[in-house]
């Protein structure tokens, strides 16, 4: 394969990967964030006590997370067709990626919020804050570094997941690697794909870490 062809293929696949990861990452996180907040605040004796709903939601989240992604892709094809009108292609692949992102991000957000010192919630209650004020002014503000890292981790995982949606014609870098590098015995394509993926993940992780550090005021020194 000529270098021009390789670059052409890589650019197109990278574009597809970025498209899938960006849209699924944003949509999934947007939906996952309130679910994560709810999971972290709806236990017995917490801000929005709803222990039963909390448990049911927890089970659903666990079930979604334990379903292997490739099976999830196939299993929700009817839903995907309902949403996008088709079950193949990059847009169709975004649906299962989004579905997989929601519980993943929700659990990470839950963990980030549970990290917050309970004393801060008590202090806010003692000031006369409503539960919603506590969520927005205390929990989300204090968990911002943690949520930033959670989002970073979610995007990195999504880059991995997106390699599997070649199965439904989603395209992307992973698909390129499998079809050219593996099935057509073109190790140089495989190598190029892996290198691009490594660079991509590094960039995302570094950007996320830097942002989280900027938000984190806990270890500032005078």
């Amino acid at each position: 394969m000529s270098l021009d062809m390789l670059i052409g293929l890589l650019t197109k696949s990278l574009g597809q990967t970025l498209q899938m990861v960006a849209i699924a990452g944003l949509l999934g996180s947007l939906i996952g964030l309130p679910i994560g907040i709810f999971l972290a605040t709806s236990g017995k004796g917490e801000l929005f006590p709803a222990p039963v709903t909390n448990r049911v939601l927890g089970v659903i989240v666990n079930a979604t997370r334990s379903t292997p992604f490739i099976i999830l892709v196939v299993a929700i094809i009817p839903f995907t067709r309902l949403v996008t009108g088709t079950s193949i292609g990059t847009n169709a692949a975004i649906v299962p990626l989004t579905i997989a992102t929601i519980p993943f991000f929700a659990r990470l957000v839950e963990a980030a919020i549970r990290e917050i010192d309970k004393g801060l919630i008590e202090a806010a209650r003692a000031m006369g804050a409503t539960p919603l004020q506590i969520v927005f002014k205390v929990l989300l503000a204090e968990a911002r570094p943690g949520i930033t890292l959670a989002f970073t981790m979610t995007i990195v995982s999504l880059i991995g997941y997106s390699a599997m949606v070649g199965a439904v014609g989603g395209g992307g870098l992973g698909d390129l690697g499998i079809r050219y590098g593996y099935q057509r015995f073109m190790p140089e394509v495989m190598l190029a794909v892996v290198v691009v993926l490594i660079v991509l993940v590094q960039l995302v992780q570094s950007a996320g870490d830097a942002l989280a550090r900027r938000f984190d005021k806990r270890n500032r020194k005078t």
């Binding site: 010192d117 004393g119 801060l120 008590e122 202090a123 806010a124 209650r125 003692a126 000031m127 006369g128 804050a129 409503t130 004020q133 002014k137 205390v138 503000a141 204090e142 911002r144 938000f215 005021k217 806990r218 270890n219 500032r220 020194k221 005078t222």
Partner: protein, 377 residues
Amino acid sequence: MRPTIQTANSVPAGGFAAPADTIPKPVAARAPMVAFEAVTKRFGSDGENRFTALDGVDLTVARGAITGIIGRSGAGKSTLIRLVNGLEKATSGRVVVDGVEVGGLSEGGLRNLRREVGMIFQHFNLLSSRTAFDNVALPLEIAGLDRKAIRDKVAPLLDLVGLGDKAARYPSELSGGQKQRVGIARALATAPKLLLSDEATSALDPETTQSILALLKRINAELGLTVLLITHEMEVVKTIASDVAVIDRGRIVEQGRTFDVFTGAKHETTRSLLSAALGTQLPEWIRSNLKPEPSVGDRILVRLIFFGDTAFKPLTGRLVAELGADVNILAGSIEEIAGEPYGSLVVAYPADPAVTERADRFYAETGLTTEVLGYVA
């Protein structure tokens, strides 16, 4: 808010509330800021893990005073203070704050009450993501004030607590004492009528503790703010509280004016908390050899307590002269409790009846308060 008329019956016996009067005065002048009436608090459901944190507590907190509640950890102090702003709910009994029963308030009513009751904490509980300024602004944001009104209020508060130049600092850039000052400014932001202090100095070193206590005292004097504090440190109560209640295993065992409670401590818990704080604890080798009854040739150990008039008289020298026996001093200290001098001296002299008789006559004559601790060989 529903004003209640206080009757003579509602002033607890032995309390430090003003004596009941036949002519009704305005509620504000008479009623205590906080009143606990037969308050019991249990945690957990029935069964083994049911735990009684407070058991029939009657207590009043006088308006404009600094009242300390002292007890060991696990005595129920934290629960007690959290009942005042409704962070905990009483199982039975009434908690009345400025004429309003806390247990009868709706969630909205509770939130309004909490905006009138400031609270500071042992671990400060400042938001790490907010600067000192924004931490103080938080209760004002919660109360729905606009940016400008908040700015106008926060700056003077930071000045009041001596942190005018630290407004843009984050909590991690401040020392423990400075963090507590931010906590105090934050608690004062909504101009409360009552300040609750939950072990506010327990995480601070002695020097910083003193500066925070001085600040609380100043705020109490300048703003006329009622302060209710809980602590396990006698030092705190001794330094700033005009009134004190001693809590032990969920019950109030002693309460009154700080000086009276300290100088006339009856309950064992009060005494043990006191002797550690007042430096009158006997050396271990004496304590372990102390006998309740004398045998021939023993020496008697007596604690002499000086306060009021006796604190200023040169009585120790006279005691030695009167007894005509050798007297040795085993422990002693002179302290100031709630602004009054208080001295305690442990002396030993021969337990010979002739000597002890002369001593007793001397004590009666001079009005010294004494306590026989025991006998040593």
